[in-house]
């Protein structure tokens, strides 16, 4: 089975959604959440899979997300015929009435954090049903000490809650480069615990001063990430519902947009044909 494949929607790539290689769209909630907007954000885009991408559910916080934010997310999802909602495995605030960081930080991989995150994800899954919820692997600049590995934390979270995994392949690549672990091993450890999978692909750059690979969504998807994508598709097989490419800076020309999405589809088709070869009865 070939997953639905598309872009995270930006005004710059809206014109190429006529490309036959695209049959999915991801909508960033904060972009769609304009109270004065009259039409739905995706307009007349004809895709078979839409997903809403959130930034502030903060599942790693000790308190559950606000009902107002949940309701608004679900409204936007229904308005745009989305089948799923996703957000990042991290925390953006210390509590319902506390302080907001502005961006998600990695949770400390502790049992206490796992309990709080699982509780929040359970509440999120229940609220969004029948829409699916996917939790995303984030790129981090630093890590916090804990009692288990990131992969173990994620595996336990997925097993406990049954939520989907948004595997950001580029984030895993960036983290593995920056913190010296094996990206394929991480993917192999995590994917079996996910009931369903979405994927993110993007390109960043290596910051010489920080000596880190930065997931800036500013460059084409690098060869190493395409390889990891292929590997992840092989491991996750028919569990992959959708793949989205993200780009937020240095936008390519039309050929660049089309080329990248066609590459994503071609790889998915190749992997699917490998599966057929293996599964075909003799």
């Amino acid at each position: 089975m070939i997953p639905a494949i598309g872009y995270a929607l930006r005004e710059q790539n809206r014109p190429i959604f006529d490309d036959p290689a695209i049959d999915a769209v991801e909508v960033t909630f904060e972009r769609a959440d304009d109270p004065l907007r009259v039409e739905r954000y995706i307009g007349g885009l004809d895709v078979r899979y839409a997903s809403i991408h959130a930034l502030k559910l903060s599942p790693g916080s000790p308190d559950p997300p606000s009902e107002q934010y949940l309701a608004r997310l679900k409204d936007i999802a229904l308005e745009n015929d989305a089948r799923s909602i996703s957000d990042h495995l991290g925390f953006t605030r210390d509590g319902a009435h506390g302080t907001e960081l502005g961006h998600f930080a990695p949770v400390p991989p502790t049992r206490a954090a796992l309990d709080a995150t699982s509780r929040n994800v359970d509440a999120i899954v229940e609220y969004f049903a029948p829409l699916e919820f996917y939790i995303e692997t984030i790129a981090y600049l630093f890590r916090l000490r804990g009692e288990m590995s990131e992969a173990e934390f994620l595996r336990k979270l997925l097993t406990r809650t049954g939520c989907g995994l948004l595997l950001d392949v580029t984030n895993v690549y960036a983290n593995s480069r920056n913190f010296g672990f094996d990206a394929r091993q991480f993917i192999d450890e995590v994917l079996p615990a996910a009931a369903s999978v979405q994927m993110h692909l993007a390109g960043g750059f290596f910051d010489d001063q920080a000596a880190m690979y930065i997931d800036s969504h500013s460059h084409p998807v690098p060869a190493e990430v395409w390889d990891l994508y292929r590997h992840s598709l092989r491991r996750a097989r028919e569990k992959v519902s959708a793949v989205f490419i993200e780009r937020d800076q240095n936008f390519p020309d039309e050929a660049g947009w089309r080329d990248e999405i066609q590459t994503a589809r071609k790889i998915a088709e190749q992997v699917a044909s490998e599966e057929e070869t293996v599964l075909e009865p003799r």
């Binding site: 004065l36 009259v38 605030r93 302080t99 907001e100 960081l101 502005g102 954090a113 630093f142 010296g180």
Partner: protein, 253 residues
């Protein structure tokens, strides 16, 4: 205790990561994580907040010579609150500016207008279905180009708010003669917000309509004790063109 300890841990982390130059206060870093990376994270968040706030309050910038400095000062002193958006952060900065107590009347007008825009956005969020329904009805008006009649039903734009301006600085040229303080109505026009100054008589008529709409122009005339319906039809025509009311003519069988 398990949960309380986690809550305390996150509170300490967020406290350290929500202000500049506190990276050394972030404990719990793994051995392979550098405090410089925490600084990069914090600085990146503050830069993003600054950009968003500057974009949100772009209109107000014109009233202040040192707006960039004020933005930085505000951000340095006021951490984001849980679930803040650009709008709520912007609203808080406007209150912070007002509390300084040293604003000119023109600066106060700029702040009043920006806060009214925020109020309009909040109303649209709260009454999204009514907002969309009204704007779609307006589009039908544009397509139909119907004549207004006493039996034409009028709907008042639900997303509107009054603001009182103390100077001429932000009044339209044609309304520069408006007596000060000048009450100005702001309302949603599709995805935009526009404003209109109405004379006292017009304000009273709109208030009557607000209490009784949707209703026919004939009923509106009656409840407002307007003897000449044609006068109200003329006003309604102007308000339709502005986007403040939408009309619905009875369909012929």
């Amino acid at each position: 205790m398990h949960d309380d300890a986690y809550r305390k841990q996150l509170a300490d982390l967020v406290e350290a990561m929500s202000r500049p130059n506190r990276e050394s206060a972030v404990t719990l870093l793994t051995d392979d994580s550098a405090p410089a990376a925490v600084k990069m994270f914090v600085d990146g968040n503050l830069d993003k907040r600054l950009d968003k706030l500057a974009a949100q309050l772009e209109f107000v910038r014109d009233a202040f010579e040192d707006f960039d400095d004020l933005l930085k000062q505000y951000i340095r002193n006021t951490p984001l609150e849980a679930l803040d958006t650009s709008q709520t952060d912007g609203e808080r900065m406007l209150r912070w500016l007002t509390a300084s107590g040293s604003l000119t009347l023109v600066q106060q007008d700029y702040i009043t207008v920006q806060r009214t825009r925020h109020a309009i956005e909040r109303l649209a969020l709260e009454h999204r279905q009514r907002h969309v329904a009204f704007q779609l009805l307006r589009r039908e008006d544009e397509d139909a180009d119907d004549l207004l009649l006493p039996e034409t039903v009028v709907h008042l734009n639900p997303i509107r708010a009054w603001a009182r301006l103390q100077t001429q600085a932000l009044l339209d040229q044609e309304n520069e003669g408006c007596e000060l303080p000048c009450d100005t109505m702001f309302f949603a026009d599709g995805g935009d917000i526009i404003s209109v100054q109405l004379e006292l008589e017009g304000q009273v008529l709109l208030n009557d309509l607000a209490d009784n709409q949707p209703c026919s122009i004939g009923d509106w005339a009656e409840l407002s004790r307007v003897s000449e319906v044609d006068t109200l039809i003329e006003l309604a025509q102007d308000l339709v063109e502005l986007g403040l009311i939408a009309v619905e003519n009875a369909k012929a069988d």
